[in-house]
């Protein structure tokens, strides 16, 4: 099984997770810029965070044979803090970087005016930088937030196939499908999808324009949920080709619209040898005598 997890917060995960992910077949990830559990209070915090996504986290992933990409944005929660508004001025620089595959996570948290202004501005930036968009749907009042999200995407005029609307569920998937956007699902204990429900949705609506992620972060979550969903698909009668369609080819197709995927060095089959993704000095593992 080769797996591309299109939404996972690796800054919150240890190298044990990278090892387990690689063993399960994960060879690529997209890590969206988001909130850290507690509000940031200055633009400088975001500079260091964004730099970490593009620097340290990409290196850490490479040491485990995984290609790491990022999305960059001012997330919905922190869009409400005037001290963080200056992050929007940083974006033109970051949206030109290698491996930045979308503007995201953007969207709504509490549906405030400030959130809407920042959401619209970032949709415009996505157009200016020719990048797709990763939209987070709110956890509170989700259905209403999803509908308002789709209205705004249509108003700004971004092509729907360049937008993924994430964290969907049974009551929000149809309206997103009808709008022509990609449907993102997070298989995440307690608060989002589970594997069995995910497979039922796939059986009902098919495998096109859908992405499945673990959204694993600092909460109670599991970076192997993509693999577990793939196993559940197989048990339900889907083929390995179907699993590859959803877990690999779909994220490649969606984020490939950015022209920024870094998959050239990915060996989606063989054992990790240590050097293929270093893109710098070859390392000498201590075990080599």
């Amino acid at each position: 099984m080769r797996i591309f997890d299109p939404h996972i917060h690796m800054t919150s995960r240890t190298t044990d997770d990278y090892e387990a992910m690689h063993d399960a077949g994960v060879r690529a990830v997209v890590e969206p810029a988001f909130w850290l559990g507690q509000p940031r209070t200055s633009v400088g915090s975001f500079v260091d965070y964004f730099d970490g996504l593009l620097g340290w986290e990409r290196f850490r992933a490479a040491q485990h044979g995984i290609a790491h990409h990022a999305t960059i944005a001012l997330n919905p929660k922190e869009a409400n803090d005037p001290r963080c508004r200056g992050v929007l001025d940083l974006l033109p620089r970051y949206l030109e970087k290698d491996g930045v595959v979308a503007v995201g996570e953007v969207g709504f948290d509490s549906m405030t005016r400030e959130e809407e202004d920042v959401f619209v501005r970032q949709l415009e930036l996505a157009g200016e930088h020719d990048l797709p968009v990763l939209v987070h749907t709110p956890h509170r009042d989700k259905a209403a937030g999803t509908r308002r999200t789709l209205e705004i995407v249509a108003q700004v005029g971004i092509a729907p196939e360049r937008v993924v609307v994430d964290h969907l569920n049974e009551v929000t998937v149809d309206v997103v499908d009808d709008a022509g956007c990609w449907a993102g699902f997070s298989v995440y204990p307690d608060t989002k999808m589970d594997e069995a429900r995910m497979v039922r949705i796939l059986q009902r609506r098919g495998l096109e324009r859908v992405m499945i992620n673990s959204a694993a972060d600092w909460g109670r979550s599991d970076p192997l949920k993509t693999w577990r969903t793939g196993q559940t698909m197989l048990s339900a009668g889907f083929t390995e080709h179907d699993v590859d369609h959803v877990l690999w080819r779909n994220p490649v197709a969606f984020y490939g619209q950015s022209g920024r995927l870094l998959l050239d060095d990915v060996d989606a089959g063989a054992d990790y040898a240590g050097n293929t993704l270093q893109r710098g000095e070859p390392l000498t593992p201590a075990a080599q005598g």
Binding site: G55, R58, F59, K97, T284, P285
Partner: protein, 205 residues
């Protein structure tokens, strides 16, 4: 017998198609050095990526030459600020290229803060680039010795350390021997490059 060092990234030349694409970016940056940040961000996508001439990567050569072009176009008074900005606004690959360009930029010791910043990371790509000819020429002894130890810690072969045999001294050898002893006391492998250094007779003691 030390082999001649390979040409630095700024002196390397790419295959003709890549050279042509790079020349376009260089022209843009010479005309307006303020465009450097955007040019290095886009360099790999525009020029190319992967193994290149003289053991360098194509994107490292492209970026290093862009930095050199912007520094030259700015002139001696402003070059250091241009180079620092390229480093600070760069992702890790872009920072690496800035470090690789330093030996050819005529900055004296002005760029040492960038080398020190790179040596403060655990990103092997940056640490290796930081211990090249610029650090060999300008990094004070204490910091340079710690840089060598850092290479051993993060698994960078000591062949990446420029002028190692020339700069090594009794104090470095003591630190490396202490590290080897610590590993042995823990029942762990001593990195091959540490062992090799200790086994080589120093040429300058």
């Amino acid at each position: 017998m030390t082999p001649d060092p390979a040409p630095t990234a700024t002196r390397a030349r790419l295959a003709s198609g890549a050279e042509a694409r790079l020349e376009e970016l260089i022209t843009e940056v010479r005309r307006d050095p303020g465009r450097l940040s955007r040019a290095v961000a886009r360099a790999a996508r525009v020029v190319g990526r992967g193994p290149g001439p003289d053991g360098h990567r194509v994107e490292d050569v492209a970026r290093a030459r862009l930095v050199a072009a912007a520094a030259e176009a700015t002139g001696p008074a402003g070059a250091s600020a241009v180079v620092e900005d390229a480093y600070r606004t760069g992702d890790a690959d872009e920072r690496r290229a800035v470090l690789l360009a330093l030996p050819d930029l005529d900055l004296e010791a002005a760029a040492l803060p960038l080398v020190e910043d790179a040596l403060r990371t655990n990103d092997a790509r940056l640490v290796a680039a930081a211990m090249g000819p610029y650090a060999a020429a300008h990094l004070p002894a204490e910091a340079w010795r710690h840089g060598v130890l850092k290479c051993l810690f993060v698994g960078i072969p000591l062949t990446a350390v420029a002028d190692l045999e020339h700069r090594r001294d009794a104090e470095l050898d003591r630190m490396v021997a202490a590290y080897a002893a610590e590993r042995e006391a823990a029942g762990r492998e001593v990195p091959a490059h540490a062992r090799a250094l200790l086994d080589r007779t120093p040429s300058n003691h």
